[in-house]
Symmetry: C2
Subunit: 261 residues, 2 copies
C-alpha cells in the first residue's frame, strides 16, 4: 500500500516494458517489510542526464536500477563510483544519499556467476566465449577473471570495443588468457550472450551457432519468457542452456542492500 | 502488480509524507483497471525545476499531481497551461504528452465546490471569508466567483498578496463584492482556511477564531486525520465544520481523466 511515506526506487532503461526487475524487486521489498516501491522509468539515451539530475532532487528516492542501454553512460552522471563500477566502466545500480549525492556500482558480474553456481555450473579453469562488450559484458568479463576462468574470448560486432575490453581485463587478470575473436565459438566450454540481442523479436543471434559443440553450456543475459533465439538454437545443437533470469534474481538482494532498502 | 509496462504518476510536494493522494489515487486507478501507479516524490522548492525537467524525460510518466508549496511555481515550468490554470496562476496537475510537452491545469476550485455541494452546502449568495492567497486559495476564490457567492473577503498574512488576488478576482467577477480584510471573520456565512496552516503540529490558526459566530460553516483545505486546529476551534464555537479531504476526493477523477490514466 503506497502512502506519502513510501520510499521510491526506479529502474531506468530503454526499452523498459520487458523489464523483470519491477516484479522481482517489489516482491523482495514486500518480503523485507520495507515501505518502498520500484517503478519503471522509460528514459531514452538523450534524456538520461536530465532524468538523473531530476532524480537527485527527489528526497524520498532511495536509488535506481540502471539497465540497457544506460549502464555505461550513467557512470559520468554520478558523484561516486565503487572500485567495481570503475573497473567495469558501468553501473547497474545507483544509491541516492540523503544530501542528493549519487553513488553507483555494478552487480552484473557477481549476479551472473552466482546464478551459474546455483545451477551447478562453475567457471574455474573453463574456456569462456563472451559475445558483447557493453556494460553487462564487461561486468561478466571481470568476474570471470576473478573466478579463475582459463580462457576468455571476447567477440563483439564492433571489434575495437572487444579489443578495448580485452586489454582492460588482461591488465587485472594477467594469468588468464584473454583474447578477442570472431563469431566462431568452437573449443569453448561456456558460451555467453552478453549483448542485448534477443530482447526484440527477430533479433539476430550474436555468434555463429553452427560452431557450438554439443555439451557446451550456453548462457544468456537477456531475460525473456521463453528461450531467446540464442538459447533455442543452442538447445537444438545439444547444448546445455542457462537463462538470463538467475543473473538478475541473484543480485536483487545486493542491490536493495546497496540502496538501503 | 507493477511491471515494466506500468505507467507512472507522481505527486510532487514538500512535505509529502502527509499526502493522502497516493492512497486515494492508487485506489481509483485500480478501480479503473488502469495499469498505472502513483508514487510520492518529496521535492523541495529549489529542486522543482530540475525534477520537472527530469520527469519530461520519463516516457511512461502520464503526469503529476502538484501540491504545496509548488502549485504556483510549477506554472513557469510548463509548456501549456489551461485557461483555468492561467486565471488562478497555479496548477495542481500536470499531464505529460507523448512528445514530452507538459500541460497543467488546476482542479482545486472545482473540487472544493463539489465537496461542499456533496455535503449539502451551497455558496451562491453567501458571504465567504477566505484565509490565504496561494494557489489553493486563488483556485477557490475564482470558483466562488463563478458559483455566485455574494461577498468574498480575502485575508492573508502578507496583505499585498491578498490585494493582488482580490484585484484579479474582481476583474473577472465584477458583480460580486470582493475585498480584503484582517483576521476578523464576523458577518460571514462560510469561513475557509486555504492556507497550509494546520499541516504541521502546533501551527497557528489562520484567523481570529473568536470572531466566528455559531452556525457559521468552517471549511478547511488541509487534510488531516482529526480536525485541524482551525476546525477544532470552530467546532468549539458552535460552527458547522467541513474537512479538507472532500476537496481532494472530488477532483481525483478529474485529475486522472486529465492525465489520460
Amino acid at each position: 500500500m503506497i502512502s506519502g511515506r513510501t520510499a521510491v526506487l526506479a529502474i531506468l532503461g530503454d526499452p523498459i516494458a520487458h523489464a523483470r526487475a519491477p516484479g522481482l524487486v517489489n516482491a523482495a521489498l514486500a518480503e523485507r517489510g520495507c515501505d518502498a516501491v520500484l517503478v519503471p522509468m522509460h528514459v531514452a539515451s538523450d534524456g538520461l542526464a536530465a532524468a538523473v539530475r531530476g532524480l537527485r532532487m527527489v528526497r524520498n528516492l532511495k536509488g535506481a536500477v540502471v539497465t540497457m542501454p544506460h549502464k555505461t553512460a550513467v557512470v559520468t552522471l554520478l558523484d561516486e563510483v565503487t572500485p567495481e563500477g570503475r573497473q567495469v566502466g558501468a553501473c547497474n545500480v545507483v544509491r541516492r544519499e540523503p544530501d542528493g549525492r549519487l553513488v553507483g556500482t555494478i552487480y552484473d558480474g557477481d549476479g551472473f556467476i552466482a546464478g551459474l553456481a546455483r545451477a551447478g555450473h562453475g567457471v574455474r579453469g573453463r574456456r569462456v566465449f563472451l559475445a558483447g562488450a557493453g556494460g553487462a559484458a564487461a561486468a561478466i568479463a571481470f568476474a570471470l577473471g576473478k573466478e579463475g576462468a582459463a580462457v576468455l574470448t571476447i567477440h563483439n560486432r564492433t571489434a575495437a570495443r572487444a579489443e578495448g575490453l580485452a586489454a582492460r581485463v588482461r591488465a587485472v587478470w594477467p594469468r588468464g588468457e584473454v583474447r578477442t575473436g570472431g563469431p566462431d565459438a568452437r573449443e569453448h566450454d561456456v558460451v555467453v550472450n552478453a549483448t542485448s540481442l534477443g530482447m526484440k523479436a527477430g533479433d539476430a543471434v550474436p555468434l555463429d551457432v553452427g560452431s557450438l559443440a554439443p555439451g557446451t553450456l550456453a548462457a544468456e543475459v537477456v531475460i525473456s519468457d521463453g528461450p531467446t533465439p540464442f538459447l533455442a538454437a543452442a538447445a537444438e545443437r545439444g547444448c546445455a542452456i542457462h537463462h538470463g533470469r538467475p543473473m538478475l534474481v541473484e543480485q536483487i538482494g545486493l542491490m536493495l542492500d546497496f540502496m538501503g532498502a
